[in-house]
Symmetry: C2
Subunit: 429 residues, 2 copies
Amino acid sequence: MVPNLVTALTGPINELEQRMLESVPAIERWFRLEWMEHTPTFYCAVDLRNAGYRLTPVDTDLFPEGFNHLTPQMLPLAVQAAMAAIEKICPEAKNLLLVPSRHCESASYLEHLQRLVQIFTHAGLNVRLGSADPGLAAPQVLKAPDGGELVVEPLLRQRTRLGLKDFDPCTILLNDDLRAGVPRALQNLYEQYLLPPLHAGWATRRKSRHFRSYEEVAKKFSKLMGMDPWLINPMVAHCGEVDAGSEQGLECVRAHCETMLAKQRRKFKEYAIAERPFVVVKADVGGLGAGVLTVRDVRELDGERLQRALARPQGLEPGVSEVIIQEGVPTCERIEDATAEPVVCTIDRYVVGGYYRVHDGRGSDESLQSPQARYVPLAFAEGHLLPARAKTGASAPNRFYMYGVIGRLAMLAAAYELEATDPDAEDYA
Amino acid sequence: MVPNLVTALTGPINELEQRMLESVPAIERWFRLEWMEHTPTFYCAVDLRNAGYRLTPVDTDLFPEGFNHLTPQMLPLAVQAAMAAIEKICPEAKNLLLVPSRHCESASYLEHLQRLVQIFTHAGLNVRLGSADPGLAAPQVLKAPDGGELVVEPLLRQRTRLGLKDFDPCTILLNDDLRAGVPRALQNLYEQYLLPPLHAGWATRRKSRHFRSYEEVAKKFSKLMGMDPWLINPMVAHCGEVDAGSEQGLECVRAHCETMLAKQRRKFKEYAIAERPFVVVKADVGGLGAGVLTVRDVRELDGERLQRALARPQGLEPGVSEVIIQEGVPTCERIEDATAEPVVCTIDRYVVGGYYRVHDGRGSDESLQSPQARYVPLAFAEGHLLPARAKTGASAPNRFYMYGVIGRLAMLAAAYELEATDPDAEDYA
């Protein structure tokens, strides 16, 4: 299934793509050297925004939930990457315990879980699912849309090990982003591999910290490529703890928005981009289902709108939030008139596929994350590899190699980030 | 392109396939543990024969020449495997020197070379081609069928290193099977990685040694699966140096044929196979372009037919050959009425695809290796992964996972073989 992909074909991004396609060996070697120093995240999904004149990541999910949107043709790639990952972590492993999200029981999420089970089974592991919900007393059978069944069992925590009844895993794979905190059952596990590590969860993680690491990675990569990092790096500012209702909190956000809009205007002038700049304001902690506030003019910004954007779900302490202010990057991609943005999926150091998030009702400057979004597999299979051979102008537009590069830069940034925030950081000495 | 694949769907092979599909995690873990002890061959192509009642390898090529027959959809898999291989061997590598075969200048071989260049370029290496032909004084430009060009340069041997003009590689990838001996330029290279090692070439290698290793591997694997190794292992016998013209030489071959036909008859009875057994007699050294002699009755065997089958190309010493006698395994696969056999390709420990070798004019008990053979890509992409989910009887016959397993067993056997024949074997102590 090849999406009907329409992109703006002029402007700096074509130069950028051309340069990347000409530099494949140097880029891949650069990644190879980075992976000698840094440990890739176990798996990852990176939302990208292709504005036509720049391509940046906007969200790096360390507990991806959309592997069911990958085209089945790409599964062998995921299996191979999973094999490589397991071989490094625990080659003798027999059993993998998968801990699903406590927050998602949609049909789509069940398909995603089926896909994960399939990938890791074919990579050579017995996979079983254990729920972090302490209320679950007996195995629960979930019906997937294809008629298949998934059995989720209660976790069985012994003094030093976590497992299920008659199931002792070598590795525990978390697919819960820990937005509601770290369950007791998962704490203080030192004998088993817990992946991703607990501090990758939203109980600890902050978007602002990720984008600080991404800036570092983007600068290094841009030096290799001899280009302006702005083409791949969205500017980010951060307001510590903001009471969205107070004048003081609003003032911090407003000041950052103003500075960032001014910086962006200068960049637009430099690149002769005839667009109106905007910034997005959102919670620094992810996974809360809170909205994104788009600001084109600081005069639009008032406490009520800010509070609405940062509103937290019931049960969470209201009012005070950490806030990030990020340069807005519109998406210029459309699939059959609907707004679309690519998502790149990785396992270990490898791109294993991707998909488009598509929304009929949202504009190019809005977040497409919503229950109404639909998903179209990216036909990475040929594209990821082939663009370098295509003669300029002779082939259909092909962004896939470039998407894979920017996706991996964001994943590498997450690796930097997790090293910097590791509570057991003395291990890295 | 999915080949119109017709297979015999009854008999022991279906049980075997079913058992393999049910044992995926155990099989993959078994391979993982083997790779902890043994080093996979860098790349490999394994010819298989599916007789309907058994599936065996018949040839394991350590200098594969058919990567152009893989479907382009599978290229990312090859690139990913190549990345994993390079990462282990020489992660800092910038340059790869590819030494093509001295014996093949066909259009198909040039496409194969293009494919190799593409794979290793995308894996992050600058790839250049150097000819082992000492007669080549200046770079030679070869025109590929797609209009592309390949430049083959003279090798530049310095005291301890091999390279090209202004090109110092970390790794040298051989695609010449060394049938005519080891060129001086390739001898005594200790500072660079030479892959595959020289003793993988036909100057040293013997098919009988390979199949002895394969028997060991097949027995181990069959124990894991609780099955008769005969289902995946073709019996092999070996006559040292045979003067095909002498009565004594003929007698050795005849005696082995007789014993093997008798053993085979017993197996056919055991499995109620209503076929006439046959054996194949061929040179123990590969790459000589010599024929294969099919024997159904030892009375057919005379010195003249044997001499013809073992005939060596001009320029090689005639008469005396090492000979192997291998149990015949017919192929029951057809593509549009033509006889077909699958070939599985690997890079490092991974199956990266496969293709069918198809011959319109040859029978199911003959060798399909000939200039008249054609090639059809195997649609591994979905197949390699998906069979386990398909309900029995609900899907088209799908042999791909099983092909990948047997192909990897042969590749593992080559790893055993190269360890056992390594002239620097003290390194393994």
